[in-house]
Assembly symmetry: C2
Homo-oligomer: 224 residues x 2
């Protein structure tokens, strides 16, 4: 299998960048309800990304994220002013990486181009990459679904990465902590590496990831 | 507005038919964990319907429902044999209607054709309609998304109802307890009546339902 993966594409939120700090800020704003808010918000954010793509009614991830927050606040009976909402959304620009990520990327970038492919609005995405000083790692591109005006796991989204890299899809390794995103990438024709940080059951979506990892530290051995 | 709605299309599960008995059976099989199982199962069932449509990997709702149940059982660490799983899935064929539904349908059917449009597999759907003796109410058709091999809220699904009824979409009233389904129908061009049984916030998906009802009893006044 060695040499088969000529390029690597990473999901961003939850895969490279830890969204825990969003939950922490929610907890500061709404003591005792922060976890419920974060969970509802994340669920709704994904739902809206899928539903809007199905409806043919794309709007960018910044707006989807804001709409999901509004719904979640109302659902939990929480009252947040404009400043608090803005503070929560701005956390996405300042997320830290998971602990093992910088060293893993540094090693992986030596042997092949790395790229990011994310639902995030290009500007949100560049901000968090720069915040972590990781721009030089991604010479394959910091790619957003925004170019296709659809969200994952619609196949035209994964095609953005295939075309930007100029590598046939069967030789592209796609890395995501979201089981459904790994499944979408696999169905598209990428090799899929699922970083199962949440130790969740494998998604029953008709395809299986090529490998299941506990963290990004396991990626290089899985490629070898 | 009177006379504008020439036909009515109803979502099935959660709108006409109460899925509570599924939760009750889950509670019998797994005391203390039935509610968690039902909630995870329902969430996953919808997720899979959306994701498979986005991935272009349709499989029928019976299989999606079974796959979602499998995932949910594993996620909660529950062990269910084949017979228990079958019993849970079979509940969908024997759901009761919500209390107000038979009388409301009887009145509404006097003035316009009624139809069902559901994610359900045609056979699951006909079974539950017959179980409740409601076949004669739906002279507009008992329609499944299966014909389009896509799930709601993809527009081609709503087109099935428009074509079966032969009524221009602007004159079709679509009735659903799912806010996202009402939004999908509205985006397609139907008039949307959201039966907000769960008293949830309105979905932020760029469109608003034409009316929000507490139950089907409020539909006739809303049409008048």
């Amino acid at each position: 299998m060695a040499g088969e993966v000529a390029a690597l594409v990473f999901d961003a939120y939850g895969t490279l960048f830890d969204v825990h700090s969003v939950a922490r800020r929610a907890q500061m704003l709404f003591p005792g309800k922060g976890d419920a808010l974060s969970a509802a918000w994340r669920t709704k954010q994904l739902e809206y990304s899928w539903l809007r793509t199905l409806m043919g009614a794309y709007e960018d991830f910044d707006r989807v994220t804001r709409a999901a927050l509004e719904w979640s606040l109302e659902s939990l009976g929480l009252d947040a002013g404009e400043a608090a909402q803005r503070a929560l959304i701005d956390e996405y620009r300042k997320l830290a990486t998971f602990a093992e990520v910088p060293a893993a990327l540094e090693r992986l970038a030596r042997s092949r181009p790395l790229a990011i492919l994310s639902n995030g609005h290009p500007e949100m995405l560049e901000a968090v990459v720069d915040h972590n000083g990781l721009r030089d790692r991604f010479r394959g591109g910091i790619l957003s679904v925004h170019a296709a005006r659809r969200f994952k796991p619609e196949p035209s989204v994964y095609r953005i990465a295939e075309e930007a890299l100029g590598v046939p899809r069967a030789m592209v390794g796609f890395v995501s902590s979201n089981g459904w995103d790994a499944a979408g990438a696999k169905a598209f024709g990428f090799r899929a590496y699922w970083v199962n940080r949440a130790r969740a059951p494998v998604e029953r979506l008709g395809v299986r990831p090529d490998a299941v990892l506990e963290s990004l530290a396991g990626l290089e051995p899985a490629l070898a």
